[in-house]
C-alpha cells in the first residue's frame, strides 16, 4: 500500500511548523526526508502517526484516510514508527520489546515464524533476547527498535533519525538493513540528518526547510554536494 501525504499543514500555537507538504511512499521504496534542525521533519512524522493534529491536508494509506486517528489506530492500520531516540522499554527484556511490536497486529497468527524471520534479520535480538533492552549498546538498541517496528508487519516503516549517535560501521549496518526491508515490499520513509548517505540510499529524497519541501534529490545528486548545500541554505 502507498502512503500518500497531500498538502499537509501542521501548526503549533498558531505558528506553522509544516506547510503544504506532499509526497508519496510506494511499496518497496525508500524515500528520504532531510533538512536542518527544526525544518519540520519530525513534525511531519508525528502528524502522520496522529501524535500531533494536522491543520489541513490529507494522510492516506492506500485509499484509507489516516488523518484525525489516534496513534494506536494509525499503528494498527499498518504504519510503524521507529521513534527518535529509539524509545525502547529499557527495563523490559529484548523479547518483551519485540512482543510489544505485535500490539499493532489484529491477530498473533504466525508469530513464531515472524520471530524467526526477525532473528534472522537482526541476530543480535536473538542473542540477547532475555537481556534488558536498556543493557544493550546504542547500535544494538537501534536494531532492536527497528526489529520491534517490523514485528507489527507494517506496510510502511517510518524512521526518525535512526543513525543518530551511532558509529559509522553501525550506520552502514542500519542502512543496509533498510535496503533489505524495502526489498521485502515495505515502503520506507527515512528522516535523517546524514544528507549525503540518505540521498545515495533513497529512490527520492525530499529536502525540507522551514516547514516546506524545497527540492527533491535522486541518488545521482549524492555526489553533487553543492546542490545539497544550496538546498539547505535556500
Amino acid at each position: 500500500m502507498t502512503l500518500t501525504v497531500t498538502n499537509l499543514e501542521v501548526a503549533y500555537g498558531g505558528v506553522l511548523a509544516v506547510r503544504d507538504v506532499s509526497f508519496t511512499v510506494n511499496p518497496g521504496e525508500i524515500v528520504g526526508l532531510i533538512g536542518p534542525n527544526g525544518a519540520g521533519k519530525s513534525t511531519t512524522l508525528h502528524a502522520i502517526m496522529g501524535l500531533v493534529p494536522s491543520r489541513a491536508g490529507e494522510v492516506a494509506l492506500g485509499d484509507k484516510s489516516l488523518r484525525g486517528r489516534t496513534p494506536e489506530a494509525v499503528a494498527r492500520s499498518g504504519v510503524a514508527l521507529v521513534p527518535e531516540g529509539r524509545r525502547l522499554f529499557g527495563e523490559l527484556s529484548v523479547e518483551e520489546n519485540l512482543r510489544l511490536g505485535l500490539a499493532a497486529r489484529p491477530s498473533s497468527a504466525g508469530v513464531a515464524e515472524d520471530f524467526a524471520e526477525i532473528f534472522e534479520l537482526f541476530p543480535v535480538c536473538e542473542e540477547f533476547k532475555h537481556r534488558h533492552a536498556g543493557a544493550l549498546s546504542g547500535g544494538q538498541q537501534q536494531q532492536l527498535a527497528i526489529a520491534r517496528a517490523m514485528m507489527a508487519k507494517p506496510a510502511i516503516l517510518l524512521l526518525d533519525e535512526p543513525s543518530l549517535g551511532l558509529a559509522p560501521t553501525v550506520v552502514d549496518l542500519v542502512f543496509s538493513t533498510l535496503e533489505t526491508i524495502a526489498e521485502r515490499g515495505i515502503g520506507v520513509l527515512l528522516v535523517e540528518q546524514r544528507a549525503q548517505r540518505t540521498v545515495a540510499l533513497a529512490a527520492r529524497t525530499h529536502v525540507l526547510a522551514n516547514g516546506e519541501l524545497r527540492l527533491t534529490l535522486t541518488p545521482d545528486d549524492a555526489a553533487d554536494t553543492d546542490r545539497m548545500v544550496a538546498a539547505y541554505l535556500a
Binding site: 502517526m49 494506536e72 510503524a80 521513534p83 525502547l88 522499554f89 523490559l92 510489544l100 520491534r148
Partner: protein, 303 residues
Amino acid sequence: MSEFLRDAIDLQVQVDAIGLGAIFALMAVGIGLVFGVMRLVNFAYGQLIMAGAFAIAFASERDWPVGVGIALCFAVVLALSLAMERVVFRPLRTQSAAVMLIATFAVAFLLQSIALLWFGPLGKTATSLVQLNRPVEVGGVDIRKITIVAIVTAAVCLVLLVALLNRTSIGLHMRAAAIDAQTARLLGVRANAVSTVSVLIAGALAAVVAVMLTVQFPTVTPTFALQETILVLAGVVVGGMTRLLSATLGGFSIGYVSGVLGGALPSAQSQYLPSLVFGLVILVLLLRPDGLFTRGRGLVERV
C-alpha cells in the same frame, strides 16, 4: 515500655497485623495499578469499597445467601469503576495530575453523599459473614478465621495479578503503558483498553477488600473504609508510587505497623494511633522521599 514491647511481639498481635497488612496491600495494588497506567491518584478508591460494603449489607439485611451478597458487591463495585473510568478518568487523562486528583476527590465525596442520602449516617449492618471472626487455634495461638482468609486471599490475588502482568499480552501492554504511554500507543497498544482493564482489576480488588472489611467492621456507614484509604494512600507514597511492587509493600507496611501499634497500645491510649502512624509517615518521607522500597533514583526519564 516493656509491656508495650511484649504486646508488640505477641504472636496474636503479629498475626492480626499481617492480616491487616494483607488487606492494605490489596488496596495499595488497586491504587498503584491505576496510578501506574493513568498517572492518576484515585482518592475515590475508598468509596468503591464503601459501595461494595453497602451491597453486602443490603443483601445481608434481606437474608440473601452469602454468595449472592458477594456477587452483588462485585457487580456494584465493577459497574461503579467502569462508570468512573468512562465519565471522569478517560476524558481527563491528558490533564494535569492536580486536575485528576481533584476530580477523584469530587467523585469520592459525591459517592459518600449519595450513600448518606440513601442509607443515612448510621448506615447498615452486614452480618452474613461475621462467623469468620471466630477464632481457630493454631499452635496455641487463637487466630480469627478472617485473618487467615485475608492473608490467603491477598496472596492468591497478588500471584494472579503477577501472572497476568507477566504472562499475558494485555499484562505486557499494561506494563509498557505504565513506563511510557506514548510509545506504547505508537506501537498499537490501545490506551482505552489498558486503562479499562486496570480500572477493572483495581475494582475487583476493591470488592475483595469490601468483603473482608465488612467481616471485621460489620457496621457499614458512608465513611466506611475512608480512614483505611487515607492510610493506604500514605503507605503507597511512603513505599514508592512509581512501582507497583514498592507501592504494594508500602501498603502492607502501613497496615502491619498500624496493626502492631494498635495491638501494643493500651486501649486507653488507642486514640494516639493515627498520630503515631502519620508521625512515622512524615519521618520516612523526610528520610526517603522517593520511597522506602525504591532503589536509587525516583521518578526519572526512562530512555
